[in-house]
Subunit: 245 residues, 2 copies
DNA sequence: CGTGCCAGGTGCCAT
DNA sequence: ATGGCACTTGGCACG
């Protein structure tokens, strides 16, 4: 496609809040939270209705460059190529895309009011524990979930038979040192607030790294093996079918 | 575009390791690390050379759905629409995209061997501190950078005039409670390894949250105001130019 | 709006 | 492969 034609088309598409997709040969400079340069190559350019700009290389799951929603997108014709300037005053960043060739391009007004419905988050897991307290122990009685403290919120907060407080930190994946840090911070804070030295810390996760387990136990805390709900539901259901072939 | 034509074209493009971009009207089901459903709407579909699949809604910076590189992508014609099945055996996940309409589509072999050159990372910051130790204090002498311990690696490790060890944790953005947790973990570990109780902890960052500062000081640690290198370099340079107009 | 933290986090590098 | 962690992390929820 002619490069001047692209410039005019893209400009009006951006103004009309259309989405633009294109295969381009380009070179990229970014300046903002970091400074970056990417030499000439073929990439996928995506400009969204809210002026989000995303650039993908032919491989890999992450964009190589992007600009947040609400950016100012302008096009400048320079000789036989187009310079696309993207500026975001919110985070004070620039993206300059020097476009040498446009292989394919399309722009269109897209309609989509749908929100994704997602299950299997850590919140579901803490709900699950609250409804099934024996997952933590036979002597665990939940009081609240997502309890707010000034050092973060406690996933599940409760007590045991003797009335000693119990703090539970949930991880939907393997618990790491950071998870132990968090638990420790909450336990310390609860001790301060409640004025007691007897607070139980429990780390609930499907697994835990050896170092995290060591550190956990050195603090006198406990690990509870808990599976996050809905994990790999479909895989287990369909695998059977696949093996039947 | 005819939906059957799309199916055949996409199938051969995937086989040829071409990249595909399209505007489609679709409905999406995901199952893997979580379970998700997204009703009918207009979206951008991107299939990369390595069988990465990415789907974007018309707004927002993140993809609404994606599948990692190396997925198996197949197309199935069902009545007047196409069902795209994506399966990744690595992370045991499924993505089903039911495509009702294809507004625009393009596929192409893209050539790009470039790697991005990026400056301003935390690693650059720890390099900067090692080369300019007075940023931490007049009495700081770096020994090593990225020092490995079993509880993580220490950004900059050094000592003071009296030979007391100093542990520096860097953050390129505002330091939070988590950063203090990390620093504390490293200081504790160094005390154990070196068999001393006198270890200085320093948190180096451009800013720090009030809670983090409180916790930092309660541990007897210190904050060092350090700007990450190259931050907003371009903005400062060009802002002047902008204001000249 | 800042603070804290989860995320289908992802990617990088270390052991 | 697993572990520890940075990331132009992004996004949400709460004070």
């Amino acid at each position: 496609m002619d490069i001047g034609e692209f410039s005019a088309m893209a400009e009006s598409a951006v103004a009309a809040r259309e989405v633009i997709i294109a295969f381009v040969h380009c070179q990229i400079t970014y300046s903002g939270r970091a400074e970056a340069f990417l030499g000439r190559g073929d990439r996928v350019l995506l400009i969204k209705a809210d002026s989000t700009v995303i650039i993908h290389q032919p491989e890999g799951s992450n964009p190589i460059n992007y600009m947040r929603p609400g950016s100012a997108v302008t096009f400048e014709k320079v000789d036989q190529h187009v310079m696309m300037h993207v500026m975001n005053s919110g985070d004070k960043s620039f993206l300059d895309v020097e476009i040498f060739r446009v292989y394919d391009v399309a722009s269109r007004k897209l309609e989509d009011g749908q929100k994704q419905d997602l299950a299997g988050s850590e919140r579901d897991m803490s709900d699950h524990i609250r409804d099934n307290p024996t997952l933590i122990g036979n002597d665990f009685h939940p009081i609240s979930r997502e309890e707010q403290t000034d050092v973060g919120f406690i996933d599940v907060f409760g007590h045991d038979k003797q009335g000693h407080f119990v703090v539970v930190e949930c991880k939907r994946i393997t618990a790491s040192l950071m998870a132990v840090d968090q638990l420790r911070r909450y336990v310390e804070r609860v001790k301060q607030i409640k004025g007691t030295q007897v607070v139980t810390g429990v780390l609930a996760a499907p697994s835990i790294t050896p170092n995290a387990r060591d550190m956990l136990e050195s603090y006198g805390f406990r690990y509870a093996h808990v599976q996050p709900p809905m994990r790999l539901e479909r895989w287990h259901r369909d695998q059977k079918k696949i093996f039947e072939y």
